[in-house]
């Protein structure tokens, strides 16, 4: 337990196949009791922060994610502004205490990449052209991480954007599927992600059937890959129902409060 360098989570070599067969038992039950096509327990709250223009809190398994949205407001520094539309500035950031070994709060290369792909997953849903020369800031804080944080972050960010009253074509909802213990499985948790064979995060605009994020690392045949994408899209659709509920319950309680 001497202090030794550790690789950032996503860059570890998969300990592929070594223990992967133990991830799912003979009855198809996973370490945490789920079936292969079952989501982890999910909780969503909208409008949880008083200062942000919009906000959401999401738990998915042990993931705990808080998102705050500011804007549209004048883009700063100015050279990032676009003449004909708003820009989204997105920061995916992990709290130092969100993972087993304390993470430095300085952004890692993984954080930089995830901030970019999450932004690109959200942009298609926002009517950016309504607010030229402005910036919409999306701050995603991973308070506790347990696998699948980028997807959970997108799901929560879409709620926070909606809560901020930013006009959107559609919500965005994200979920991963992957391969663990030799089977295609939905919504991998941390251990499955690390020990398993592959992870496929997907983001969807559910009414437009538009895939706005798609990544994969690991080892899958083309058929397995397509199966994983389909399973992830199924997860997205379930999560979308929860998103709508979360927004409705915020809206309803706001109405009732009148």
């Amino acid at each position: 337990m001497k202090v030794t360098k550790k690789k950032p989570k996503k860059e570890r070599e998969k300990m592929a196949n070594k223990k992967s067969e133990k991830l799912i038992d003979k009855k198809g039950i996973r370490l945490d009791g789920r079936k292969v096509d079952e989501l982890r327990p999910v909780k969503m709250d909208v409008g949880v922060l008083s200062n942000a223009d919009g906000s959401a809190y999401l738990e998915q398994g042990r993931n705990k994610i808080l998102v705050g949205v500011y804007g549209p407001k004048e883009a700063h520094p100015r050279h990032i502004a676009k003449q004909d539309r708003a820009v989204i500035q997105c920061r995916y950031h992990m709290a130092p205490f969100s993972v087993d070994e304390r993470k430095s709060p300085a952004p890692s290369r993984r954080d930089v990449e995830l901030s970019k792909v999450i932004r690109e997953a959200l942009e298609p849903a926002v009517f950016l052209e309504y607010y030229p020369r402005t910036s919409i800031q999306v701050y995603i804080e991973i308070l506790q991480a347990d696998g699948g944080t980028r997807c959970a972050g997108i799901t929560a960010a879409a709620l926070a954007l909606a809560d901020a009253g930013i006009p959107m074509r559609d919500l965005v909802v994200a979920c991963a599927a992957g391969k663990a213990g030799g089977k295609i499985a939905l919504d991998l948790m941390d251990t499955e992600d690390k020990v398993g064979e592959a992870d496929v995060p997907v983001a969807l605009m559910p009414n437009l059937n538009a895939i706005t994020l798609l990544q994969m690392d690991g080892n899958l045949s083309v058929d397995e890959f397509n199966a994983a994408v389909d399973m992830a899209l199924g997860g997205c659709k379930k999560l979308y129902e929860l998103q709508k509920e979360a927004l409705k319950s915020k809206y309803v309680s706001a109405e009732e409060a009148k």
């Binding site: 337990m1 001497k2 202090v3 922060l49 008083s50 200062n51 942000a52 906000s55 042990r62 705990k64 808080l66 998102v67 705050g68 500011y70 920061r91 950031h93 709290a95 130092p96 205490f97 969100s98 993972v99 087993d100 070994e101 304390r102 709060p105 300085a106 800031q137 701050y139 804080e141 308070l143 506790q144 991480a145 347990d146």
Partner: protein
């Protein structure tokens, strides 16, 4: 930023109210807003706590690692306090490395814990001069509605009390985990109270509006025996008189004892 005209109108209104002993939300001058403390909210951290002071919300996580001790204190564990003014917490917070406000916040919290010997760092030495435990306290501001110092100090203390360490033995200079956990060795309970000076009144637990119009602030951190372990004046271009400082120490003696009960049960 808020224009100076708006600030001036706000300042006049708040100052007049406080001069008459009242506050916009009906509190007395030395009353705190509602305090909520929730411990153990981050299960993957060795210790954690979320504190709400009204709408101000702070999350503190404690992580325990290992490392080399400092050369001049080879028999003591290492304590590190860091504060992040997370940009979702306020339109005035920006992403990037900690600025002067975050550094000051971390250092004031740090001094309270360090100078009160809240953690018995000598019990965190594994092998003198070679291997000790490192306690990382990360203060995470989630919503800023004033009085970040008191909320952060409370959350840090609650997270330390909440923290657990795995049991271990040392074999050939290496730590070997054993089953079970022990609490962190906590030996004091420092509490910070922060005064804001508005007009010629001292108030406690200023909210953001009050902080924007205050002349200056003064933080006093006290140990459980009522001794002072840290003081910090800051927060603006105002000052305190000698009498105000004496008054503050008196109030602090009472208030720190009161607040300590919220964190330390039994």
């Amino acid at each position: 930023m808020t224009s100076s005209i708006v600030v001036n109108i706000k300042k006049k209104r708040i100052t007049e109210l406080i001069a008459s002993g009242k506050r916009t939300d009906g509190r007395g001058l030395t009353d705190y807003r509602e305090i909520q403390i929730e411990s153990g909210v981050i299960e993957r951290a060795e210790g954690s706590a979320r504190v709400r002071l009204g709408k101000t919300e702070v999350l503190v996580g404690v992580k325990i690692g290992t490392g080399k001790p400092f050369a001049d204190v080879p028999d003591k564990g290492v304590l590190t306090v860091n504060a992040e003014l997370v940009p979702l917490a306020s339109p005035s917070f920006e992403p990037g490395p900690p600025g002067a406000n975050a550094v000051e916040l971390a250092r004031v919290v740090d001094r309270g814990i360090r100078e009160s010997n809240a953690i018995d760092l000598e019990k965190l030495c594994v092998e003198s001069g070679k291997l000790v435990f490192v306690v990382f306290i990360d203060v995470y501001i989630l919503n800023h509605d004033g009085n970040l110092i008191d909320a952060s100090a409370l959350a840090a203390l609650a997270a330390l009390i909440n923290a657990k360490m795995f049991k271990y033995t040392v074999e050939e200079g290496t730590i070997v985990k054993k089953p079970g956990y022990t609490p962190l060795p906590i030996s004091n309970y420092p509490i910070a109270v922060t005064f804001a000076k508005i007009g010629n009144k001292l108030i406690l637990d200023a909210d953001l509006d009050e902080e924007q119009v205050m002349d200056a602030r003064l933080t006093i951190t006290m140990k459980k025996d009522g001794n002072i372990c840290a003081v910090q004046k800051g927060g603006g271009s105002g000052y305190f008189t000698r009498e105000e400082i004496s008054e503050a120490t008196k109030i602090a003696l009472e208030k720190t004892a009161e607040l300590r009960k919220f964190v330390v049960k039994s």
